[in-house]
């Protein structure tokens, strides 16, 4: 009988990623609902100190696999290791964050295990027959599919920010199981040569999850600096309306709109943009739109989820400060 809800605890340089905290928090709730144990799986080298963090976040048990081949993430070695511990421990469900690593690792692991995988989920519910049913946005969020299976284990990746992080309980006791694995050399065919963490590099406009855009209301090229500061705090790309491009303040490749780039980020922050139809054509499908405009009648407010009527030169720096507080919290 398979047992337990297992969470893949993703760490980079000994730091547990935020999405793993989210999953442990939600996993705890599911474990209580279903009466299953919650298990955290940590892969790495010299990461024993993470055990108590995972325990405090709600795990009943931690599986710790330490090996020099697991020090840094590589698809092959991680697949190999997880395949072994999962076959041995037979969990009901194996959940991980839908990070770049999760997206890479989960399908390969699921295929090796010969099981199903629900990707990029935004909800999990307990189900009497299938144990867990996963909600997945499909068609770029235009619909949802609810998917589940009786094949064990079920693997799922969960979109970051789906679940809230509960406060840790340092007093929790945890059982630790150390596992050793052998990494198949065939799994090491792709060799990581270099990893460049570009903290200041802004994401590509068309792929960015958050975009901050400026229009004619920016008044001049130098003022885009305040948008860039905001963008860097929340990892956003910076876009522009055609008016800003025509004025020579931004390059054409940053133009959002019908004759510019079509974007559909989770969050689009429009500053000093009136919301002309050609602009909306390029960003109207964004999940959330925030408008900052001093004209309360501006058309952009008709599509905005949230709006602030005010002078952007006053509002944007204040927003940046607020975001800073949130991000560092």
């Amino acid at each position: 009988m398979p047992k337990g809800i297992w969470i893949f605890v993703e760490q980079r340089d000994g730091q547990i990623r935020k999405s793993s905290f989210e999953l442990l928090s939600e996993g705890r709730k599911l474990a209580d609902q279903t009466g299953e144990p919650l298990v955290g799986v940590i892969l790495g080298e010299g990461v024993e100190s993470l055990v108590k963090v995972v325990a405090a976040q709600g795990a009943d048990k931690v599986i710790l696999v330490e090996d020099e081949k697991l020090k840094n993430y590589s698809t092959g070695a991680y697949t190999s290791a997880l395949n072994q511990v999962i076959r041995k421990g037979e969990p009901q469900a194996f959940l991980m964050g839908n990070s770049a690593a999760g997206r890479d690792l989960a399908p390969r692991l699921a295929q090796r295990l010969g099981v199903g995988l629900a990707s990029d989920c935004t909800g999990i519910e307990h189900d009497p027959e299938k144990f867990l049913v996963f909600k997945r946005p499909i068609y770029a969020g235009k619909a949802f599919a609810y998917t589940g299976t009786t094949v064990r284990p079920v693997v799922a990746t969960i979109r970051p920010n789906t679940f809230a992080i509960s406060s840790p309980d340092e007093s929790r006791q945890v059982e630790v199981e150390r596992e050793t694995v052998t990494v198949d050399p065939a799994d090491l065919k792709a060799i990581v040569k270099e990893m460049a963490l570009a903290t200041s590099k802004r994401p590509e406009l068309v792929e960015a999850d958050i975009i901050v855009s400026g229009g004619r209301g920016m008044k001049g090229p130098e003022n885009f600096a305040i948008l860039e500061q905001l963008a860097d705090v929340i990892g956003a790309a910076v876009g522009a309306s055609r008016a800003a491009v025509d004025s020579g303040w931004r390059e054409q490749k940053f133009q959002v709109g019908q004759t510019g780039k079509t974007v559909s980020p989770t969050l689009y922050i429009a500053c000093g943009i009136s919301g002309a139809i050609q602009h909306l054509a390029g960003m109207g499908s964004s999940k959330f739109i925030v408008a900052i405009n001093k004209d309360p009648e501006a058309n952009i407010f008709n599509v905005a989820s949230y709006g602030i009527v005010g002078d952007l030169f006053e509002v944007v720096p204040l927003l940046t400060e607020e975001f800073k507080k949130l991000v560092s919290a």
Binding site: R103, Q111, L117, A145, T147, A190, I191, G307, G310
Partner: protein
Amino acid sequence: MNIVVCVKQTFDTEAKIVFDSQGRIDPNGVNLIVNPYDEFALEEGIRLKEKFGGTVTAVSMGGARAQEALRTALAMGADKALLVSDPALNDADEWVSTQALAQAISKIPYDIILAGRVAIDDGSSQVCVRLAEELHLPSVSTVVKFSVEGNKATAVREIDGGTETLEIELPVVLTAQKGINGNEPRYPSVAGIMKAKKKELKTMTLADLGLAALEPKMKISKYDLPTPRQAGKKVPGEPAAAAQELVKLLHEEAKVL
């Protein structure tokens, strides 16, 4: 060099989602396109051929209409096309899709298999990583840049907050991010469109591939639509208070940060 490109036909980005009487997504009357990421993969496949010689085969799994997607691939410059089509694949999950595609591709010589990073419809980002596993190949996902020299490829992929450079021996599966290698998918010439009409486009069923019907691992129990976008809120108050409230709403209500 032999190149295989996986091409999925998807709903137009503008398409509306409507359910049929059984509550499933209704493709009737919907305009279909080549998955945009797959167009980037095609472009790279054709460029590899132009550089090293060889054959580009476009492979798709889907209904009869998916032939249009393959004709697009042929007009852009692919040499051959293969459609895997079988009514038994109507409820395919990612595992089933992978088995069918892997079986089809295993019959074609390949050095590089290219695919999109994600299909914009079902959007699981699974099929081609699974495919690599099934074919015992290494894979690199979300590739932004790559080059090939001899029997080695160097690929740069996106990771959270940066990039990673990998070196891999061929054969390999690469999934394309938009703008890979800085190229835009080509617009075919009229001559290309005319030639495409004469190129080979083969269709195979599961039986042709020597496969029996496959039981999916995952079952979709229902579909639904998001609640329509709420009428917007203007956050009131002095700038400082409004900014504070806005960030709170984004965090707690919209859950975007």
